[in-house]
Symmetry: C2
Subunit: 202 residues, 2 copies
DNA sequence: GTCTATATTGCGATAGAC
DNA sequence: GTCTATCGCAATATAGAC
């Protein structure tokens, strides 16, 4: 069965916007790639910006729920929760191969139209990591002198930079391919090991 | 003394391109912001693309030399060399407040015109970190089972993501301000601690 | 819901006076 | 080296037929 116009447009636009950014793609290009008349973008989404917003919401909105699953896992230790977080990140990126690029595009050139979408995503991430780290410090699992805000960014960086730059680094190290999980496992291990109190003189 | 036209254009374009990307800025906007006639962009740089290239080259070209300073510091241990690397990164970003955004823009939407510039930068970074890690593993300082390629990205991520996202995170955590060095110190500490062989059962 | 045709605006580049 | 004026084109959006 043929996909309907809106779906075709969103799926095509996802790729093109991710590659070239909002200003870098024209509605003609979008319409041609989706094999659809360009007037239909205005008809279905009210214009190019509406299509862009639709793409971004599709990318980011389901993530909040996924993250919430782990937020309230009180039975897990902070360490375990962060390990789960790492696995979740991998899963999210595998399910949405263009998420990293979309995220990236919006980080680089925040568009007013998606400010709320992207900010919500970032603040959820930030809060989750931050609070989990805080709990770990309070329990004595993590180093007592950790600057939580900075450690939060460190973890976010270690987990996200990989996906953001994957396509670039592959050009230097072709062996990269599909080892997302392997990366995430080692990365979270380095991080947890690095903030662990074990070995610290107290 | 009044700056000359080329300087004014490059400095203005640096900000605007960093904020909106290549396609997101028009030559009229650039010219107006630089308080210069728009025809002069073509005259001095051969067109908008030439100005963009000039901006990017200005941002990235001096970095290679800075990095080389530390590459050949054979008298330093791998650990010390990476600590120096972290300090260098901070210094570079402080000297060039828009470098992270320019880097970011090119990562998000690689332009053919700067492919060589950005690739050279990335591959230098990658090589330096990778080789230093390899030496550390060989000496027995770092974990023996480290996947070097992944660890390289982890370090690059931990060091660069902060600068890329700084302006965004500041909106959530206003206390961020000017503590780049503090961030870098803790980040490299977490990383080195995380890959250290100390405590490993061999 | 989809198409053609077009209105309108803004783009990048340049010719030519100064 | 800088300016004005303008060319040619591509952009988004929409009116109206089907």
């Amino acid at each position: 069965m043929e996909k309907d116009t809106e779906t075709k447009l969103i799926e095509t636009a996802m790729v093109l916007f991710a590659q070239k950014g909002f200003a870098g793609v024209s509605i003609r290009e979008l319409a041609q790639a989706a094999n659809v008349n360009s007037a239909l973008i205005s008809y279905h989404f009210g214009g190019k910006e509406g299509l862009y917003r639709a793409v971004m919401e599709e990318q980011f909105s389901p993530i909040g729920q996924l993250l919430k699953k782990y937020e309230n896992m009180v039975q897990l230790s902070p360490r375990e929760r962060l390990e789960q977080y790492a696995k979740t990140i991998v899963m999210i990126h595998q399910q949405r191969p263009f998420l990293a690029q979309c995220f990236h595009i919006e980080l680089a050139n925040p568009s007013e139209c998606c400010e709320s979408v992207i900010k919500k995503y970032i603040s959820q991430m930030f809060q989750f990591i931050h609070d989990t780290l805080a709990e770990g410090v309070a329990r004595g699992d993590f180093k007592l002198n950790l600057k939580l805000e900075y450690a939060t960014i460190s973890l976010a960086g270690i987990m996200n930079f990989f996906f953001i730059t994957k396509s670039i680094f592959q050009q230097f190290q072709p062996c990269f391919e599909q080892f997302d999980e392997e990366y995430a496992t080692q990365a979270i291990d380095i991080f947890l090991n690095g903030i662990s109190r074990r070995g610290e003189h107290e």
